[in-house]
């Protein structure tokens, strides 16, 4: 029912998003503090190049949900803005649904959407329902189509109780639901989401994630999202692209990354009475992961040695309880940033 609008330009690559060698360099004025420097800069300005995005390339297939990760200032938002057509790149190319985004073709703008967490598209003083009406007029959505889409969004997001209130009276979670709904009324084929769950409480985050997953399932829309919350990434993205200092560091499945960068497992073992037990014989003891007074410890071992080491531990130590876990995804990704 929530099928996305038809593809754009004819002869388009079957991948909705194709990025090749995309780069964006900013020129910022280089100025130190102090009065003397201020006077000098008035006469002769010094510029500095900031390479926000360097030679980024990737392809995203239809219906994929891809996580776009990186520390602050890595170039995620800049890349997203270029793909949304808000920024012109310095070099390189990108084609989304066959369109070049920064040409801001009307056909393109009607097939995509960008939602930025904490930045409101909805008018503050009027009820969200009125903003929806404006969007209907702007995107030229017929009454029949609008009703169909709205009913579905209402079912998924439970909008009815909140859309008649002025937006400024809504909670952050409610506001985000309305923002998402407003941006999906025209059934875009591509969604760009910049930190959509930022600032929301846990239950709101969970709801938004569930919505996005279901929406993607029903409509087949392609989603590219950035986030700082690992829960977003693990819940939604099979594939992630890691970007740091404007360059792609990794592009592939999340589980593969884990295996590649951190081929470890964490064995959490709870010991009974054991005064002279030395766990370092089995692997690297990770301090602070367990509560040592209760006899809990965490030992990091290579993934392919888990079975053997576990067997030894069970044989040689007074084990009360034992768990085997993957390393936390935050650590994995953090490590990937610094490769």
């Amino acid at each position: 029912m929530l099928q996305q609008s038809a593809f754009g330009a004819p002869g388009a690559d079957s991948n909705p998003i194709v990025v090749e060698g995309l780069s964006k360099t900013y020129q910022v004025t280089d100025r130190e503090g102090g009065f003397g420097a201020a006077v000098r800069s008035f006469v002769k300005r010094k510029f500095r190049d900031v390479k926000a995005v360097q030679n980024v390339s990737f392809r995203i297939g239809q219906g994929e949900i891809v996580g776009f990760l990186g520390p602050n200032g890595a170039g995620k938002t800049t890349t997203l803005k270029m793909l949304a057509g808000l920024l012109h790149p310095t070099s390189g190319s990108a084609k989304v649904l066959g369109f070049t985004p920064w040409e801001r073709n009307s056909g393109y703008l009607r097939s995509m959407t960008l939602v930025m967490g904490q930045r409101n598209r909805l008018s503050w003083d009027i009820p969200a329902a009125d903003s929806f009406l404006l969007n209907q007029a702007i995107y030229r959505i017929s009454d029949a189509d609008y009703k169909r889409v709205f009913d579905e969004l209402n079912e998924l997001l439970d909008l009815a109780p909140i859309i008649r209130k002025p937006v400024r009276n809504l909670s952050l979670g409610e506001r985000m639901k309305c923002e998402l709904a407003a941006s999906l009324l025209h059934r875009p084929a591509v969604l760009f989401l910049d930190e959509p769950t930022i600032g929301l409480d846990i239950s709101a985050q969970v709801r938004i994630r569930a919505f996005l997953k279901e929406y993607n399932r029903r409509s087949g829309a392609t989603i590219l999202l950035t986030s700082h919350y690992m829960a977003d990434v693990t819940a939604l993205c099979e594939r992630i692209i890691i970007i740091h200092h404007g360059q792609t560091k990794y592009d592939g499945k999340l589980v593969d990354l884990s295996r590649r960068i951190a081929p470890f497992k964490l064995i959490g073992v709870t010991l009974g009475d054991c005064a002279d037990c030395d766990l370092s014989r089995y692997g690297t003891v990770v301090p602070g992961e367990g509560s040592e007074d209760a006899g809990k410890h965490s030992v990091q071992v290579k993934a392919d040695e888990v079975a053997a080491i576990t067997a030894r531990m069970l044989a040689e130590l007074p084990v009360v309880d034992l768990t085997i876990e993957d390393p936390p995804i935050e650590d994995v990704i953090e490590r990937a940033f610094h490769e």
């Binding site: 808000l86 920064w102 703008l109 598209r121 009125d130």
Partner: protein, 261 residues
Amino acid sequence: MYILKLFSTFLKVNLQQDLAYRADAIVNMVMSVIGTGWDLLGLSIIFANTKEIGGWGPSELIALMGVWRLVNVMMATIVWPNTEKFNTGVRDGSLDYTFLQPVNSQLLISITRMVVWRVFDFAIAVALIIAGMTSGNVITSPPLVAAFLALTFSGAAIIYSLWITLISFTFWFTKFDNSVTIMAALMDAGRYPAQVYPYWLRALITFIIPIAVATTVPLQALRGELMGWQIIGFLVIGAAAVFLSSRVWKAGVRRYSGASS
């Protein structure tokens, strides 16, 4: 047509917003009437001391006040509320959403917020114009009235274009978000016929912030003081202003999006 439907939807939504604050709207309408009262009081003080100023009598001044109010209505309905929205959008980045929508961005920033109850002010302005034209000894004729209306419309278009140009400057000078204030400050100079002012003020409000072109000039046409070529000239300037300001806006948007040009 699409633009018409778009405009009427924006009008409807803005009207609903005004109606939500019904009490405020009513108070504002009352203040408009009182404000007109103050203005007329000022005029009466002037004409208690003289029969005419700059060659114009009380009826012309009342019609001039009406035309001035018309320009003021446009400022209050469209310019001031949307300037605030625009500046906020630049500051917090939500201006990006304007460029994401498949509608001309200049149109969007002009109609996003319209203070619809000001149609009441519009009515007062028209009433003043008619009162001024029909009372006293303003000798006029249909072609002159037509020229008067055309120049009033063209004058408002020039002021609108000036506004677009000024807010476009924010794209280049982000700290300079207050330039529209100078328009508001000079508005007062449009209350009286420009010939009363010293040459430098006259030049300022004719060529730089052309309030006089929006207020004095239409009245001059009504009184038959303008020649045909002058009327055509002003209309051409109006059209040129609209065209040029939209190019400035487009250039500003290109700069905002980092296009190399």
